[in-house]
């Protein structure tokens, strides 16, 4: 079984910002969608969410900043219940405890509003909300760029541990190839609204073919240190 969305495209102000694109994902696959600012990554991410949902796949989307997902006037408990209702699920304390333990936010006060939690905890809460319905595909758009490096690395590690052995496919959208390269097994490179390369990570890093991919590879880290 695979997850497929065909003919994804987008036009803004009469200009094509996403050319017709087909995406196929395998269950449990870890895919990085990388490219420079303005290359169309987020647009494809949104189109992919819509396309897959249209095809009947359960898809969850985690935005760049928790501010986009959380209402500052509502409690965390309200957000959680709202997410359950949206998925048609009955309240389940054990499911919540399990996800909160996995993402290490069990100590968070659910009566508080988002700003009563730290940024890192807010983002992990959003990720936990995304995982409530055990989605087939999890699309994350720059999930760590609003976080401090230590918190960002910890969040990615917790997510990776949670997803290990599960069937949920992960699409990680980022401008940072260095971040994606360590976390995904397949890389898709966007440039000017098109996927210009789609290859296993190791093959891609060894031999990027296009100009956009070479630029990403050349700038994937700041400094290389000997082992």
């Amino acid at each position: 079984m695979t997850f497929t969305a065909n003919g994804l495209s987008a036009v803004r102000s009469g200009r094509t910002i996403l050319h017709p694109t087909d995406v196929t994902l395998k269950p449990g696959e870890r895919v990085g969608l990388v490219g420079a600012s303005g290359s169309g990554k987020s647009t494809l991410g949104h189109a992919l969410v819509d396309g897959l949902r249209g095809a009947g796949t359960a898809v969850a989307h985690v935005p760049q900043s928790p501010d986009e997902a959380l209402d500052p006037l509502r409690s965390m408990a309200y957000h959680w219940r709202e997410a359950e209702i949206a998925l048609g699920l009955a309240p389940d304390a054990s499911r919540r405890t399990h996800l909160f333990e996995a993402l290490q936010i069990g100590h968070g006060d659910m009566r508080k509003r988002p700003w009563g939690w730290s940024r890192g905890m807010q983002q992990r809460f959003v990720i936990a909300m995304a995982l409530i319905g055990t989605p087939g595909v999890l699309v994350m758009d720059e999930p760590t760029s609003a976080l401090d490096p230590v918190v960002a690395a910890g969040t990615m590690d917790l997510l990776e541990d949670y997803l290990a052995g599960r069937q949920t496919a992960l699409v990680l959208i980022t401008h940072d190839l260095g971040l994606a390269a360590r976390r995904v097994s397949r890389l898709m490179v966007m440039d000017a609204g098109r996927i210009v390369e789609d290859a296993p990570t190791t093959r891609f890093l060894a031999a990027p073919a296009t100009r956009a991919a070479k630029a990403l590879c050349a700038h994937r880290n700041w400094l290389q240190l000997p082992c």
Binding site: A36, S37, A153, L179, R182, W222, Q224, P226
Partner: protein, 241 residues
């Protein structure tokens, strides 16, 4: 030479900086790294004299002129400019007088060094790319020849490739112009690649201070190791055989 000696800053009774001392030699680069809330931006405010210190002092020995102030490059490139003014007007503002032919020559030479087409100067901040806007911010910081430039998270709004390109341009301009740079960043990779020294700021205190390369190879504190390991985990630093 910039000397920060034992400064403490309190906000609403809470200490934000505690006994912070730093020194920055002419032409050198110091990166101050730390997490949100560590006091990095407060440190910049204190050096600029915008935030009053409860104790300690910031001195600037061998300043070329008594009124010469450090220049600042801000984090959000577009928000750093008045949206209603042309970039040319904002960039020339630090000169505070009618631009002479020499100033214009300097402006175009700096534009060239920062890979900015002079035509962009006649646009407004929202009419250039974010990377170009940040290079305009750097241009404005350099125009008045301040020997000390403070960078507050100068790259965090840019994408990975633009970050590296901009960092290279800042470094090249530093070689050409000779200013000292104090860079506040949460990105240890950037600090390690471009600074001479790294100071780790944590909860308002300097936790560790060492040469940049020595720091990433062998941090001396547990927190320094945590920062370094996160940089590896996020791919900012990489180990190669």
């Amino acid at each position: 030479m910039l000397k920060v000696e034992g400064i403490s800053v309190r906000r609403g009774g809470t200490p934000v900086l505690h006994d912070v001392s730093l020194a920055l030699a002419p032409g050198a680069t110091l990166a101050v790294v730390g997490e949100s809330g560590a006091g990095k931006s407060t440190l910049i405010g204190a050096i600029l004299g915008l935030i009053r210190c409860a104790a300690g002092q910031v001195t600037w020995t061998d300043a070329p002129a008594p009124k010469c102030r450090p220049a600042l490059v801000m984090q959000e490139p577009r928000a750093a400019f008045n949206p209603h003014l042309s970039l040319r007007r904002s960039v020339m503002e630090p000169l505070a007088k009618q631009a002479s032919a020499g100033d214009l020559n300097r402006l175009y030479r700096l534009c060239d060094g920062l890979e900015l087409h002079p035509d962009l100067l006649d646009r407004r901040p929202n009419q250039v790319s974010i990377g170009q806007a940040q290079r305009m911010g750097i241009l404005r910081a350099l125009i008045a020849k301040s020997p000390l430039v403070l960078f507050d998270e100068p790259l965090s709004a840019l994408d990975a490739a633009t970050q590296k390109h901009t960092a290279r341009l800042i470094s090249d301009m530093q070689g050409q112009e000779g200013f000292a740079a104090l860079i506040v960043t949460h990105d240890l990779g950037y600090a390690a690649a471009f600074a001479d020294h790294i100071a780790v700021l944590r909860a308002g205190r300097i936790e560790e201070y060492s040469a940049a390369r020595a720091f990433v190879e062998a941090p001396q504190t547990a927190y320094g190791r945590t920062l370094r390991d996160a940089a590896f985990s996020l791919g900012a630093l990489e180990r190669v055989a």
